[in-house]
Symmetry: C2
Subunit: 218 residues, 2 copies
Amino acid sequence: MSTHEDGSFTYRYPHPAVATDIAIFTLREGRLAVLLIERGEEPFQGDWALPGGFLRPDEDLISCARRELCEEAGVEAPLLRQFGVFSAPDRDPRDRVISVAYLALLSSDRLKPQAGSDAADARWFAVADLPALAFDHRQIVEAALAALRSVAEATDILLDLMPARFTLTRLQAAYEIVTSQVADKRNFRARVLESGLLQETEDMERGPHRPARIYRRV
Amino acid sequence: MSTHEDGSFTYRYPHPAVATDIAIFTLREGRLAVLLIERGEEPFQGDWALPGGFLRPDEDLISCARRELCEEAGVEAPLLRQFGVFSAPDRDPRDRVISVAYLALLSSDRLKPQAGSDAADARWFAVADLPALAFDHRQIVEAALAALRSVAEATDILLDLMPARFTLTRLQAAYEIVTSQVADKRNFRARVLESGLLQETEDMERGPHRPARIYRRV
DNA sequence: CCAAAAGTGTTACTCGTACACCCATGT
DNA sequence: ACATGGGTGTACGAGTAACACTTTTGG
């Protein structure tokens, strides 16, 4: 950038476009799934991509991510965590686009994605079985999974994947799906109950077996 | 973005400028210090700011950070870690600027910052005693310190703060300065020696006390 | 000989992990 | 009655944290 004597200034180089992409995960049918939208426009028309879009002049990046998630997929904004920035000069064939990537988790009782204006369709895909993705979105999903796994072991973030009310067995299943390793039932229960993050309810889930206590977040 | 029938496209909104800022830390006189440059131009002319600058069309963000660090402060590129993105619409009074922030550590035997073209001066400041900073750079420094402290406890990153050859006592001092807590001498030494990251040398540091073994990175 | 920093092992405790059986319900 | 998942305690080992004195040099 150079500043001129009259106080105006110019940038030496053209500005790139700035966008957000959101990798939002949930649990469906016992598998970790990510929300994708079908692109209605070129390039990559008909391919699947992460929800996201361009930054507007009056919003910051996290607001942009929240808005795009709502507009394109009808998903109400949960907690968003910035986990990476993707800036390879040729990652968008049209023009230079910098993408700031956000990670989010959606509880499995609120997943009703509906395609928005820019998307022909919106669907959940199991991460183990992804279609061809537009742009460098495969790479972004991989980075999001790595970020999710690294924070999942150290924090209570996994509660965001759960519906309002759940059993300890379902919570453990969520943990095992995300971390890809089995946990000891007694150790898991002891740890999570001592954390103080769960509240016992009076209700039980019934089935062809002993009823399970239902818990909720405090 | 909208795509036209002829295949061209336009963005709905003007593009922001995209820049990097680098918070590079070292140890000076037993204190954690960050490199700042004195701004030679408005706005904030004469104030201090983190090194950084605008993204060029043919580079990605980490290359930009590495280049700016070299150009503005004469510092050769160590490992850079992206730790945040700053995007408040009014963070730059001139125009919309998105800043991607990088964290770096510099070993204390290579710190000879020299002011580059865009900077009137470049100096190290103890983080406990910062001058007034331009833009939102105070906030960026705080975020960088938080990121540094959180990774310092889990990784070997602190070796990047050390000169080529150092004693275990000096390494422990670096650890204590960054984490702001004292460590047990015997436990620290046992841990770091078992890590396999250090190599004993034949040399000793002399002084008015028992000579200390000098180590280096493997 | 005194000051100053270097160097060195052992013990206690905490935390994580492994492990197996009985219980309550629906069919 | 049986099939299904729910629910519970303990023992062991590893790793972390606490702890004090002797050694070597320069002045």
